[in-house]
């Protein structure tokens, strides 16, 4: 046990390689962000894609209604442009394949529901879903997530983004106790 945790192996999959030194991984992540600033003139983003998927879906099912909405209609569906024709959608695809490449190289790809051994898969998926709904709502409200707001805005020293980041930790620590069992072994 002692050996395992100091080597920080992936939780699932026995043959997987240890994670990188977190400071070096952070350096690479910071490099990715800096590259994004210099090449794209904008930072990283992730939540824009599921939000735009929501706009796209709603437009598919109820076009007139979606178009009339203050949020989806004005922000994503004006001028009849496909909301998914957007640079962050391509960044999202890149993120997927970058993650896949790293996971394959480290033998960490493993179809599973991640949870503590003493916790069932179904309630774990329910928590993931409810958490996702809250995150989606909050990202739409704050126009960004941990990537677009906390990391990107934080590196630019944008006041609101730094406040957002502090609030994410505050909200997380406040609720952590109530959902701790999902990680119990």
């Amino acid at each position: 046990m002692n050996d395992n945790s100091t080597e920080t192996p992936a939780e699932s999959g026995s043959g997987s390689k240890p994670y990188w030194n977190p400071y070096l991984a952070g350096l690479l992540l910071g490099g990715a962000l800096l590259t994004s600033f210099l090449i794209l003139g904008a930072g990283l983003g992730a939540s824009a894609v599921p939000i735009r998927c929501g706009a796209w879906l709603e437009h598919l099912v109820a076009p007139a209604h979606a178009q009339a909405c203050d949020f989806f209609g004005k922000k994503y569906l004006a001028d009849g442009v496909n909301p998914l024709r957007y640079y962050l959608v391509f960044m999202f695809v890149g993120t997927f394949f970058g993650g896949l490449l790293s996971a394959v190289l480290a033998q960490r790809v493993n179809v599973s529901v991640e949870r503590g051994k003493a916790f069932a898969a179904r309630p774990r998926l329910m928590l993931a879903l409810v958490g996702g709904v809250l995150v989606g709502y909050a990202s739409a409200l704050a126009s960004g997530c941990t990537s677009g707001q906390a990391l990107t805005g934080g590196a630019l020293l944008a006041n609101g983004s730094i406040v957002f980041m502090l609030c994410v930790f505050a909200g997380g620590y406040a609720a952590a106790y109530f959902v701790r069992r999902q990680w119990h072994d």
């Binding site: 002692n2 945790s5 992936a10 939780e11 994670y19 400071y23 952070g26 350096l27 992540l29 800096l34 600033f37 003139g41 904008a42 939540s47 909405c69 203050d70 442009v81 957007y86 640079y87 391509f90 960044m91 890149g94 993120t95 997927f96 394949f97 970058g98 993650g99 896949l100 490449l101 960490r108 790809v109 991640e114 993931a128 879903l129 958490g131 996702g132 809250l134 995150v135 989606g136 709502y137 909050a138 739409a140 409200l141 906390a150 805005g153 630019l156 944008a158 006041n159 609101g160 406040v163 957002f164 502090l166 994410v168 930790f169 909200g171 997380g172 620590y173 952590a176 701790r180 990680w183």
Partner: protein, 389 residues
């Protein structure tokens, strides 16, 4: 000055295969580094909230500080103009505080955030897939209940570093991060069996390198261009013509609008048109000073803050600027394309524009219109009550 290859306007208004490819390559790096850090695992991500594994804090702060110092160094040596070349998220405290708190709850429930969720999905985690479906649903719920929280959105102006000089803020931030690294290592050692970098040469060296970079950012002037230009005495004619060539004596309408909204100190906006024209409409906060009285009026403001002159076009302000320059004023700017430019570029409704605006640009236009028109349009049009500032 180096140019960012694309810039947000081109990314959004004129997307091409190249901009999409560039975004995808950035994404590859992003996803790869997240997975290397261990962020393809919800258990590892959530562990920070139970003080078992503080990797999230270490990686996030390292990345943030690295990018911040890198950007600050590029800005300090004059290679990058932050506000014009990089899209900066506007600050909307209400939305960001409430959004952040709700986000944090969702984060600890699910163990994911959108970026790491993508990497989790790539690693085969079904809980990540379900989480991302939840995010889509959450966005739809937000859209359907938009009115409930739209009051939190506010104007959304760009605010940076809480008014502290950038270099100083960067240094303080870096010291905080280094403190957080040691705290994280200590916590891991205390509450679990991690913390293996505590008291290592590696972490000491890493911290020292970051602090040295931060001190360099702190020592370097944050805006070398302005310091160089602020030499004593009047600019020579040659230097002045060069400044004209470089349009250094201009201020763009968008920049003026933002400066007024954020309440830039010592900004004096001067309308040099006739008082009838001024009465009919003027830029909020502008004072009306006829050309003959300009020199006397501006005397107390010589080289104090920024003076921006505007008329309908550019000829009168340009002539006035030259006259003032010969009198030793070095802080006089002309509004590019005059009031007409301001109306066309800042206040024209998005729907009437020929070019398609980016979301961010459209948002800025809405902000400007709200600020410069809403409180005043009716008054300005009926003219009677606007009596000058």
């Amino acid at each position: 000055m180096i140019n960012t290859f694309y810039g947000i306007d081109q990314l959004v208004t004129a997307p091409s295969a190249k901009t999409f490819l560039a975004a995808m390559i950035v994404g590859l790096l992003f996803g790869f580094s997240l997975e290397r850090a261990g962020f393809g695992s919800s258990r590892k991500l959530a562990a920070i909230f139970y003080f078992r594994d503080m990797t999230v804090l270490k990686v996030m702060f390292t990345a943030l500080i690295t990018a911040m110092l890198g950007l600050s160094l590029l800005v300090a040596v004059g290679w990058l103009e932050l506000e014009s070349q990089v899209y900066v998220l506007p600050t909307q405290y209400g939305a960001q505080i409430v959004g952040g708190l709700v986000f944090g709850v969702g984060f600890v429930l699910s163990g994911w955030c959108p970026g790491t969720g993508v990497v989790g999905m790539a690693s085969g985690k079904l809980d990540a897939l379900v989480f991302l479906l939840g995010v889509v649903i959450g966005a739809i719920i937000y859209n359907e209940t938009y009115g409930l929280t739209s009051g939190l959105l506010g104007e959304g102006t760009v605010l940076l570093a809480f008014g502290i000089p950038r270099g100083l803020f960067a240094l303080l931030f870096t010291l905080t991060a280094v403190g957080a690294f040691y705290f994280a290592e200590w916590v891991e050692r205390r509450f679990s069996d991690g913390g293996k970098y505590l008291n290592t040469v590696f972490l000491r060296a890493f911290s020292i390198v970051l602090i040295i970079a931060a001190v360099a950012v702190f020592i370097l002037p944050s805006e070398p261009g302005t310091e160089g230009a602020a030499s004593t005495g009047s600019l020579s004619e040659q230097a002045m013509l060069e400044a004209v060539e470089a349009a250094e004596d201009h201020i763009e309408p968008e920049d003026l609008a933002d400066a007024i909204i954020r309440g830039e100190e010592d900004l004096l906006v001067v309308d040099v048109r006739t008082s009838e024209e001024y009465q009919a409409f003027h830029i909020t906060s502008a004072v009306n000073v006829p050309l003959p009285e300009l020199i006397d009026y501006l005397a107390p403001y010589r080289n104090q803050g920024r003076i921006v002159l505007y008329s309908n076009g550019m000829t009168h302000p340009a002539q006035a600027r030259d006259a003032l320059d010969r009198l030793g004023f070095q802080n006089v700017f002309m509004l590019t394309d005059g009031l007409q430019g301001f109306l066309d570029r800042c206040l024209m409704p998005v729907s009437l524009r020929r070019e398609r605006l980016s979301d961010t640009m459209a948002e800025r236009v809405h902000t400007w219109r709200r600020f410069f028109l809403d409180s005043k349009t009716s008054d300005a049009v009926t003219a009677a009550r606007v009596s000058g500032v």
